[in-house]
Symmetry: C2
Subunit: 236 residues, 2 copies
């Protein structure tokens, strides 16, 4: 399924993956104005949060106004990929000769509701990653194929090997954007209730309500080829 | 807990709630470039998606670049509210005499993974709402209190009546933004696998994997006042 060699069409060299260090360098954009103690720039912390999910909220600017769309993502090393139809707005905006689209890609996992005795101290335990940067249209056919595999495998590990790969027409209809992980931070709240000392005697219940996420029983397509078994990677 | 009457400090009249009709008027921003058949402007559809959640991703523009942050929201009629510390960036940006912050507020529920025989037709069943507009700092004390109650009740219905309301100091430390629901659309994918006819005989399993979300057993704060029972609204 390897495509023909092509001359990359990018008008400028893509940023290289930064040398591997234990942490991303904080920037003005990644240091929060509030609760800075909840922020982390640790590479492993960021990777772990990203690897646990597959849905991000991608922000970009259109006509001066913000747009936030939900979309799938995949992480491959120090790169994030999103994809979509070549006709979709952000992907059209990122391509072309004046390529590159400033984006903010955010991934959030909610772990628990935090119910305090005071309304003010209600909170959530969560982990999030916010990545800033410029997203580039992926034009190298090998990178594009690998990114599309990664997008499928981010949702169901191993699935890309158990499906028909994209053909030429499908590849042409799909655009892939790459965002290098450079200006990125994680933020998390963990732990229990943080009420004021003078509120502790109030008669309101306080504590954590954990969120549970999981998958239900797979529902096979009615037109499944006879004898097709449920693959191991979908068995609970 | 009613605050003293105050003269509203907004420098311009806030937009009024639009007359109630069955649907929001589509605009250039709310008509998707792709899969327009998945879009809906129906008021009840939009409300139902919003009412099922409490976490949104709020986008705004800072120094020309997009920023997307996860935060809680509440819907009260045709208004959405978000809140935060008065020191936080978007809330500072929305306040002041030149008030109003262009935002995009997006809420997404993932319902199922859609595994197709072809990598290309992998998808998700989801429901999302995207609301565009200008968010205003809420300065009316009654509206602010009601919004804060709604933010607590959006997470756990009835909870605001079972917690200590914000005191003067907490109210002063909290900013609330309001976004009127005017330029808003819902988008949803439902149904089964959408493979090409020529792929149906492939030996790959295809179907839906439903996502399950729910709450686990509440974990009481160790310092709970003696005799405080788990409230009915938290019992599964």
């Amino acid at each position: 399924m390897q495509g023909p060699p092509q001359t990359p069409r990018q008008p400028r060299p893509l940023p290289q993956t930064p040398p591997r260090s234990a942490a991303y360098a904080p920037t003005d954009r990644t240091v929060p104005t509030r609760s800075a103690d909840r922020a982390s720039y640790d590479r492993e912390v960021v990777h772990a949060i990203l690897d646990e999910g597959h849905l991000c909220h991608l922000g970009f600017v259109r006509d001066g106004a913000p747009v936030v769309l939900p979309t799938l993502y995949a992480r491959v090393g120090e790169r994030l990929y999103v994809h979509g139809s070549t006709g979709s707005r952000p992907l059209r905006m990122a391509g072309g000769k004046d390529s590159g689209l400033p984006v903010c890609l955010t991934v959030t996992h909610v772990d628990a509701l935090v119910l305090a005795r005071s309304a003010f101290h209600h909170s959530m335990n969560y982990r999030s990653v916010v990545a800033h940067g410029t997203a580039y249209d992926v034009t190298d056919p090998e990178e594009k194929r690998a990114a599309l595999d990664a997008l499928v495998d981010q949702v169901v590990p191993g699935r890309s090997r158990d499906s028909r790969p994209a053909n030429r027409k499908e590849l042409a209809a799909t655009a892939v954007l790459r965002l290098d992980l450079r200006e990125v931070s994680a933020k998390a709240r963990t732990g229990g209730v943080n009420d004021e000392a003078e509120d502790l005697a109030l008669p309101h219940w306080a504590g954590l309500v954990p969120l549970r996420k999981g998958y239900g029983t797979p529902v096979a397509d009615p037109a499944l080829a006879p004898g097709t078994a449920l693959p191991d990677y979908l068995k609970v």
